[in-house]
Amino acid sequence: MLGEFEYLLLTAAAKLGEDAYGAAIRQDIENVTGRSCSIGALYTTLDRLETKGLIETWMGEATPQRGGRPKRMVRLTGEGAEAAADFYKTVIAASRGAAWAVI
């Protein structure tokens, strides 16, 4: 079972597709949750997810607005997509009947 932050990260990476990398994922999580996302939490979680085989990462291109530094690109694996889907189904099932559930 994924943790909440792991799910947010996987979902952000899935939405961003080919453009998924550290700063973009961080921005997406902050937009969705309305809370700040620390670099420390982001990178340690990326490592954990990669160790579990739920994502793949590699070094991408450098851009001027990054001070010429490369990006750490992120891609979901099949297992990552399955784990995120399982988490989503569990949350939906667990929420059914609750006052705040919209489904």
Partner: protein, 259 residues
């Protein structure tokens, strides 16, 4: 470099990021730069990641520092006597024979060597990244502890360096070399290590009680010294043996193969 990536705090953040691995360092600094963070935010972000990455190392080093200081107080008596003999060529007449002095010194040195080896092994095994930085910090801690002159008044700088090299640096380096390779240690080797550590610790503790008894005899009963089981027996024994015990307990969880 972006115009916002300047100033003392940005410079500090970049220096601090040097403790991360090269690829990660570049990606992290790039992400922070892209977010338009100022120097204070950059420093906070990098510090957060460095602490998360290395918290086990800092805890380990803090624990080793405390232990080093405690152990050196524990071995202070035989080392102090050796230091007096080294400097002045005379024996400290504390009521022990020369043979007893030699046995006590040997036992204490053997216990330190075993402890240094297992500490180095455990440090390398549990904190693989940037091991040279951690090793340097460990030696600084040992050196600082060894030069705590208020408790261990060593007179000779040459003796200090020799002692540190023989009793701590070389065994610790050997342990680190073993611990940073494949996480495999032979069952017989592990048993030998555990036995050696426990035996040398017990002998060192036993011989350390000689000094207390000798002072009582030397003062013709004027100075009464009672051995504290907690601080003079159990605590030193636990400290000297914890790296081996920790390795044994963590073997399965950390995939240390005891074969």
């Amino acid at each position: 470099m972006g115009s916002h990536m300047s100033g003392a705090l940005w410079w500090l953040a970049e220096r601090l990021s040097g403790s991360l691995e090269a690829g990660e360092r570049e990606a992290v600094i790039g992400d922070i730069a892209e977010s338009g963070a100022n120097g204070a935010q950059a420093l906070r972000d990098v510090l957060d990641l460095v602490v998360r990455r290395n918290w086990r190392v800092w805890l380990t080093l803090a624990a080793l520092a405390g232990q080093a200081y405690g152990l050196l107080i524990f071995v202070a008596a035989p080392l102090r006597d050796f230091d007096i003999w080294w400097k002045y060529g005379v024996r400290n007449e504390d009521g022990l024979s020369a043979g007893q002095d030699l046995i006590a010194l040997t036992c204490h040195c053997a216990a330190l060597i075993c402890y240094a080896w297992t500490s180095g092994f455990a440090l390398a095994f549990f904190c693989r990244r940037k091991i040279h930085v951690k090793a340097s910090l460990l030696y600084l801690i040992w050196l600082f502890s060894l030069t705590a002159r208020s408790r261990l008044p060593l007179h000779s700088a040459a003796l200090l360096v020799t002692l540190e090299a023989l009793l701590i640096v070389f065994p610790s380096l050997r342990g680190m070399r073993k611990g940073s390779g494949a996480p495999v240690i032979g069952f017989a080797q592990f048993g030998l290590l555990a036995s050696a550590t426990a035996t040398t610790a017990a002998l060192a503790i036993w011989t350390s009680t000689w000094f207390a008894n000798a002072i009582e005899v030397w003062s013709e009963g004027q100075i009464r010294t009672e051995i504290s089981w907690l601080t003079q027996v159990l605590l030193p024994f636990a400290i000297l043996n914890w790296p081996v015990a920790y390795l044994a307990m963590s073997a399965r969880r950390r995939k240390l193969q005891v074969i």
